[in-house]
């Protein structure tokens, strides 16, 4: 059966009038029903991409299909709930009245307001004016607004931005709940653990280009998969020996620990050699390469 995509872009490019190329030839495919993490450092082009997918920005070239329609078309917007960048609402209205306004715009039933307020745990503060809300409450109201239409596709741009640790945990739990019912969630973030904890697949964007896409495990494998971590002293002597045993690019020293990109089955042989040369080996273990390592490799490689 053919795979259906909630978001599919082809050569999506955005060059601002200032000449800045924010997004370049982006080919993104978000499968229906998955939580897709859109990962990249600040300024990589994540928000610009999400703005194009929401119809707020017009691409310079390329095309996109979002929830079955062109970005910004009524057909697409009817199936799309989005919170792009900082949640923006009317400061003089209460949280509940802001949702009433958005429900009117989106033709959503008024009866949806209380359930979505409850879903984001904002019922108690809903009568207060938006201008009195903390960052966390604003984020939660933004998610509530995005949920009003009960959309098939939810786009959330840095939903934990500005939240305290407790708020971040709560938001992650909320995001996990949001996928129920076959809903697709496209989540942008520059926080690796957030993506690792919540997403099925990840796309990594750097300097406007998609540099990798896959599951977290696939990305780890792409970065070399596993590594052998060795703590041995004296460090200088250990480095010379390891670099003579392996290629120099396979040996990296970070915080006093050698990270060797070798097959873990070589662990015993390497240990024997180090001990035989009179080195003290205090630690030798196999480590999964973290997403952070992969992320840094992928994003730093970009010219």
């Amino acid at each position: 059966m053919a795979q259906s995509y909630a978001v599919e872009t082809s050569g999506l490019t955005k060059r601002y009038s200032t000449g800045v190329l924010a997004v370049s030839d982006l080919n993104l495919r978000v499968r229906s029903g998955e939580v897709y993490g859109f990962l990249g450092p600040n300024g990589a082009g994540k928000t610009t991409t999400l703005r194009m997918l929401s119809g707020l920005l017009r691409p310079t070239s390329g095309s996109a299909v979002v929830a079955g329609g062109a970005p910004g078309s009524p057909a697409s917007l009817a199936q799309l709930g989005a919170m792009v960048e900082t949640p923006a609402f009317y400061p003089y209205l209460s949280g509940r009245d802001n949702l009433r306004v958005m429900a009117r715009y989106s033709d959503a039933s008024k009866s949806r307001i209380e359930p979505v307020l409850k879903q984001v745990d904002m019922t108690d503060r809903a009568r207060h004016k938006f201008k009195t809300y903390s960052t966390g409450m604003k984020q939660r109201l933004g998610v509530a607004s995005a949920l009003l239409k009960d959309p098939q596709l939810l786009i959330l741009d840095e939903p934990t931005s500005g939240l305290d640790p407790q708020g971040t945990v709560e938001m992650r739990e909320l995001i996990k709940d949001l996928r129920h019912g076959g809903r697709t969630v496209l989540l942008s973030s520059h926080l690796l653990n957030e993506v690792e904890l919540t997403c099925d697949r990840v796309g990594v964007i750097a300097k406007g280009k998609l540099v990798a896409e896959g599951t977290v495990d696939e990305l780890r494998a792409r970065g070399g998969g596993q590594a052998l971590l060795v703590t041995a002293s004296p460090i200088d002597q250990a480095r010379r020996l390891l670099e003579s045993l392996l290629k120099p690019e396979q040996v990296q020293l970070r915080d006093g620990i050698f990270s060797l990109t070798v097959d873990p089955s070589q662990a015993a042989a390497i240990n024997r050699r180090l001990v035989a040369d009179g080195l003290d080996v205090s630690e030798l273990r196999v480590s999964e390469q973290s997403l952070e390592d992969v992320f840094l490799q992928l994003t730093e490689k970009q010219p």
Binding site: K14, Y16, T18, V20, A22, T47, T48, R51, S54, G55, L56, L57, R58, G72, S73, P74, L77, A78, L80, A82, V84, E85, T86, P87, A88, F89, Y90, P91, Y92, L93, D97, R100, V101, M102, R104, Y105, S106, D107, S145, K149
Partner: protein, 280 residues
């Protein structure tokens, strides 16, 4: 568009700034038009005693028979300023608060969002016009009753025509403010630009350089001048001869105002539909 109209209606109703604008307009009408003039003709201060116009004639300005031209003259000054601010607030604030991006990712397309907003503005303009006319009528009734004089109300057709003229010119200024809000995406720039045009561009320069032939030709196509031409078509018991005659006739005025209303609306749609929201 109906969904958007309902949403904007709710926002307008709940916004205090809008009620303050309407309050200022009505208070101006009551205090500075009716009460002040009535007080002056009643107390006859020294400055008024030498006037060539007898007080008995002057006070008829605020009697029911002159309801329409009195309301229209207020509309062309403070009314215009209020409606520019009202229109600018309705569009520019969406950019100031960044709510424009929140509403554009709801269901209606961009044109429906703006159409709803302008429709809400139009409904507000009609309601403000009705309120201004009703308050003025009440003031005129109170004034003539307190004075113990007799006066007649304008004919129903005249009232309807006057209401139409009032709605038209207030709508032009509101559309101008809304257009500036969309164009500048800044409340301060839209209000500042609109008021500078109204009070400096048109009123001041138009008054100072009216004698120059070229300027006079240009003035014939400015909204304020054409609004004045429409207003002067309504009968007034006494017109101050020092006030300059209208440069164009009322028909020219109505057509020009309708043209401005169309141009401001179309330009707003063109800009709103095409322009990116957010980003570099």
């Amino acid at each position: 568009m109906i969904a958007s109209l309902r949403a904007d209606g709710l926002k307008m109703r709940k916004r205090w700034a809008n009620w303050i604008m309407v309050g200022i307009l009505l208070a101006w009408l009551v205090l500075l038009v009716y009460l002040l003039l009535f007080y002056l003709v009643k107390t006859q201060p020294a400055s008024l005693r030498g006037s060539a116009v007898p007080a008995s004639l002057l006070k008829r300005q605020i009697f029911p028979e002159n309801l329409i031209p009195t309301v229209l003259s207020t509309a062309s000054s403070i009314g215009a300023a209020i409606m520019i601010i009202y229109g600018a607030l309705s569009t520019a604030s969406e950019y100031g608060w960044s709510t424009i991006q929140t509403i554009l990712i709801q269901k209606p397309g961009r044109l429906a969002v703006l159409a709803g907003k302008l429709m809400a503005l139009a409904v507000a303009t009609v309601l403000i016009s009705l309120a201004a006319m009703a308050v003025a009528a009440l003031c005129a009734y109170v004034v003539v009753s307190v004075d113990g004089s007799s006066s007649s109300w304008p004919a129903a057709t005249e009232i309807l025509k006057g209401l139409g003229a009032l709605v038209l010119q207030l709508a032009v200024w509101a559309a101008f403010g809304a257009f500036l809000g969309v164009a500048f995406r800044s409340t301060a720039a839209a209000i500042g630009g609109g008021l500078v045009y109204l009070f400096v561009g048109e009123t001041l320069l138009g008054g100072l350089f009216r004698g120059a032939a070229v300027i006079k030709e240009i003035l014939k196509y400015l909204p304020g001048i054409n609004a004045d031409a429409v207003n002067s078509a309504f009968h007034l018991s006494y017109r101050n001869p020092s006030v300059q005659a209208a440069l164009v006739d009322a028909t020219h005025g109505v057509i020009t105002l309708l043209a401005y209303l169309t141009v401001f609306t179309v330009l707003s749609f063109l800009i709103f539909r095409r322009r990116d929201v957010g980003g570099g």
